[in-house]
């Protein structure tokens, strides 16, 4: 009997589909003429991303049919549970919106190579895999897939010095951090004899505190902390985001980040929380503070949003520090909320940047409320969400995180929560600055911004709807994130919260 069964293929169906579409795009690229617009490839890849989502729905269907679906597959390599499904839906969606935003961008930048879309799709494969992988080997490879594709994409504007600089910085520092991660994995292997997360979890839970394992955890935190851009490993973010093409920043500030957070969730909650609590506490406080204060003085939109993304990583880590089901659930929810608003914001940035990314200074945004009402309006929604105004994803996510922090009833957590709240108030200044510029200043830019293409509009509207949806009626997503949080301990088979065409079962009140 073949040890690899059909269900195993279903467990990696989104990856397979995405990879297949990646290959299709590569092949099709060869058919197109060199100077021709690659829009058609973009559309194919868009279909691919959507197919990835569809594949995830297929997984959900299997989940309903086969209770053993959530068991580890591929000899303990992957586990497609509620947690993984959450990211399987989220990440291709992010990619899809990034692709939509790229369609126009590539033409504007006069980039005519279809590998771009293939790289996005392959990177998505890596990210998706990161969320379902439960074996450090596979996590490592998936991480590298997503990283390498983003290294390349960051340098995609090859004629541009800052783009290649961004790429090299990202690459060198990323590899540097990966080495730390690997070192941690090695020590963990030494400490527990396994690289499988459930095994590690079980070993650590059973054994006495093991310094080697602690050191291993620390080193893995370094590596993953780098990927999620949390202080003190955030330092690369502004430079890389500034130099990289805007749609790619939209992607890499959300997709790989969400995936990295997924891994961080898997890894950290496999170890003992008390060991890393203070570390994450400090990191969260530092990230929020450094990010927000850094952003206060930026004049480049991309850089500003980069600092803001550091700060948001900090908020997310607050949820980690809070721990517990609420904390994990809050962290999961936050990734989605952050993705929705940040993808949207960078999509707008990529539109306004125009050819050569000329217009990325804050002042270039003056008077946009008058010139491009729709784009300014959607950007306002994203910014408000980033500030954390009620009715938007950002608010509920933040609220949920802080609620998790306060639920602990511990002084340290409440203090962290307060630091976070003050930070989010400070942060409102720089987001507001952009809104102010758009609506309250007269344009200084001589050039009238081009009107957005339908694809761009679609991308923005989708992102805006997601932002509002997550802020106003987050029940469905909250249910999923709660279920995902419960699946993080690998023990319960996981109740199925995803339904296709059926009403959402009422969630249990949080306690």
């Amino acid at each position: 009997m073949n040890p690899i069964q059909t269900v195993d293929y279903i467990r990696i169906l989104p990856e397979l589909v995405l990879g297949a579409f990646g290959i299709i795009v590569m092949m099709a690229d060869a058919v197109l003429k060199p100077g021709q617009s690659r829009k058609s490839l973009g559309l194919i890849s868009l279909v691919g991303a959507c197919a990835g989502i569809a594949a995830t729905f297929c997984q959900i269907a299997w989940m309903h049919r086969d209770p053993s679906f959530t068991d580890p597959g591929w000899f303990g390599m992957v586990r497609v549970d509620n947690f993984a499904i959450f990211f399987h839906l989220l990440i291709p969606a992010i990619s899809a919106i990034c692709i939509l935003a790229s369609l126009e961008y590539l033409d504007a930048q006069n980039i005519r190579s279809g590998e771009y879309y293939a790289l996005i799709l392959f990177g998505t494969v890596g990210m998706v895999l990161m969320s379902s992988a439960i074996e450090l080997v596979l996590i490592f490879i998936a991480l590298e897939i997503s990283s390498i594709s983003t290294y390349v994409l960051a340098g995609y504007r090859r004629r541009n010095a800052s783009s290649s600089e961004s790429s090299i910085k990202y690459f060198l520092l990323g590899s540097f951090a990966t080495a730390f991660f690997l070192y941690g994995v090695a020590l963990m292997f030494g400490a527990t004899g396994s690289t499988s997360i459930p095994e590690i979890r079980a070993a650590l839970a059973a054994g006495s505190p093991n310094l080697l394992a602690i050191a291993a955890t620390a080193l893995m935190i370094v590596g993953l902390g780098f990927k999620v851009a949390s202080a003190p490993f955030h330092i690369w973010t502004p430079d890389v985001y500034e130099g990289a093409p805007a749609p790619i920043v939209a992607l890499m500030s959300t997709g790989p980040k969400a995936a990295a957070f997924a891994v961080l969730l898997r890894v950290l909650f496999a170890t003992t929380q008390t060991e890393w609590f203070w570390l994450i506490w400090v990191s969260a406080a530092l990230s929020m503070t450094l990010g927000n204060f850094g952003a206060l003085v930026q004049n480049n939109v991309k850089r500003m949003l980069a600092y803001s993304s550091i700060a948001h990583a900090g908020y997310l880590l607050v949820a980690f520090a809070a721990g517990g089901d609420t904390g994990k659930s809050a962290a999961i929810f936050y990734t989605a909320a952050y993705a929705a608003m940040n993808v949207g914001a960078f999509a707008v940035v990529s539109h306004f940047a125009a050819g050569g990314e000329r217009y990325v200074s804050l002042d270039d945004y003056a008077g946009l409320g008058r010139r491009s009402p729709l784009l300014a309006f959607t950007l306002t929604i994203f910014l408000l969400s980033l500030i954390g105004i009620p009715g938007t994803a950002g608010f509920f996510a933040k609220y949920y995180v802080f609620q998790a922090a306060f639920t602990g009833h511990s002084g340290a957590l409440i203090a962290l929560g307060i630091i976070g709240l003050i930070n989010s108030a400070v942060a409102s200044y720089y987001y507001l600055r952009l809104i102010v510029l758009m609506y309250m200043r007269e344009p200084v830019m001589a050039e009238t911004p081009a009107s957005a293409t339908a694809a761009m509009r679609l991308a923005l509207v989708l992102a805006a709807i997601a932002t509002i949806y997550l802020g106003v009626v987050p029940n469905r997503v909250l249910n999923s994130s709660q279920a995902g949080a419960q699946d993080l301990d690998f023990t319960n088979p996981g109740k199925i919260v995803y339904h296709i065409g059926q009403p959402v079962a009422p969630a249990t009140p949080e306690r």
Binding site: A177, F180, L211, V222, D239, E275, G294, V297, Y429
Partner: protein, 701 residues
Amino acid sequence: MNQNLNLWVIPLLPLIGAAINGLFGRRFKNAVVSTVALLFTAASFVWALRAVWTAWPGGGISLPYIESHGTWITAGSFSAPFGFYLDQLSMIMVLVVTGVGFLIHVYSVGYMAHEGGFYRFFTYLNLFMFFMLTLVLANNYLLMFVGWEGVGLASYLLIGFFFQKDSAANAGKKAFIINRIGDFGFLIGMFLIIQHFGSLNYADVFGKIASGHYAPELGWGLFTAIGLCLLFGATGKSAQVPLYVWLPDAMEGPTPVSALIHAATMVTAGIYMIARSHAIFNLAPHALEIVAIIGCLTAIFAATMGITQTDIKRVLAYSTISQLGYMVLACGVAAYAAGIFHLMTHAFFKALLFLGAGSVIHAIGGEQDMRRMGGLRTKIPITFWVMTAATFAIAGFPPFAGFFSKDEILGATFHSRFGGPVLWVIGVITAGLTSFYMFRLWFMTFFGEYKPGAVDEGEEAHAASAPAHAAHTTASHSHGHADDEAHGHGHVHESPWIMLAPLVILAVLSVVGGWVGIPQFMSGGQNHFEHFLAPVMESGPPTSTQAAVPVTGNDTISTHAGPPSEENAGQEWLLAGTSVAAAVIGLFFAWLLYFKRRDLPGRIATKIHGIYLLVLHKYYIDEGYGAIFVKPLLALSTVVFWHGVDQGIIDGLVNGAGSTSKGIGNELRRMQSGNIRSYAAWVAVGGAAVVAIMIWLGVGR
């Protein structure tokens, strides 16, 4: 008792008049406006007469008569109704107000005929009537306060009637604000009453006092406190020291306004209020003592200032303050009836004086400076004669009205333990001064030669040294009478009959008005006025309070009710004689200085230059208030509060927090040097820190 008097109609009628004129008056002809205003005022007067007639003591209605028309304010256990109250006291007040008010309305039709804003004037005037009637008819302090504030508003509007003139606008504002300062005291007094009696209704409050329903250990101090607060309110409204300063300035208003509001009615509200609250004051002898002193002080103080004024209306204004001082003095010596009596007679003759002065001013084209008058006796004879009656009345010559009321007060002062001879002497001196400055006015205006455009040589130098004063007189030229300028100088004319008729009626009242209160020792019969008011005033302190207030014997708070015994009659005659003598002396000096030897005033002025200037500038009280209160306050507000605290400290902190954050941000971003090796160093250091912290904490565990 069952009869409904519908007192509410009395104040409401003028309000309707005000509403009609206010809303539509702009489109009406002057005749329509005046008809409306007069109609509603007259109706109000008639209704008041009817009410008084019906409720006259001995009639079918037991006094006080109270009617209530729903609640105005309610909160928690507190509530204040729209309620009206009629007793002997309010009967007198309501008749004076509606009666004199109506006459002045009539007069105004003539006086204001050529002014702009005719409808506005009558709107305000009717509005004033509404508030004043509310004040005197209210059955609770809160509703009285409505009238109290409302008349302040009407006064503000009417003083500032010629709003294009800065001085008029300033005067209106000053009047309102200073009244507000007094109102502040009234408010606190009301709070105290609410706190301890739970209600502001007269019936409740006085009933509780009468039955001793108040905490005995609080009683005495409490009543003193309430009394002082109410007194403070009264000093504002009735222009007593130290809040009298607004009244002279209030002469910026049209003359009928001065007559109605600033002489006959509104300014007496304070006296009415004290008389109304006599039950409280009777229990607070120290408050009464202070009332008496303030009244006496005001009387003499204002009288001295009246001496040097050359503006005819200002002389009358100071005279009013002085006379109000008498009334307050009367209240202070617990002779409330005497105070109200003087209030009434004063309403007659002072209204007359103002209206007469208005007639004079009208006659000579808006001129108010007495130095530019003279010899008008023959040119406007009717005005002269009515003015003469009023002057004799105010100076206190028998048998004019002023004599009886003033004598009543002085007598009561002499007998009272709160007053005593000292205050009596001051009162008599004031009477002499009153006589002096009133006859000064009389002589300067009606005798000698008419000299328009001239300033008395003797006083010229001093007039020049008083620029404010000079400015004032020129300003008065420029007001609404400017169009009369053509027939102003040299074309002196008697006023029309619509103005003269009220004068004549008031003149009659000034003569005979006092006869209702001829004291017992003169007439042999009873003092009708006092007797009439006795039921109100004697519902004073029950003897039971004596125990609670041991320091105040019942004798000290005698209400001057009992008729003096036979043996005292001689003393009474002597006292009356003294005050008449003082008046005669005043008349003599006025004749000497302003008729016989017209050079003398100037020479005296140069001789006692310092004192003269002091008095001429009204003791620099206005300037003093300015320097002590107004300027420092404005400076404090501007420099310390606004620029200092607001913009400096608070906004400094706020903006400072902003720039500090940016500074921190700027420092932090220096980490972002752009160098990959530095970045790697941060990552490495971070890694080192992470590992070290975790190992350290792990070992510690």
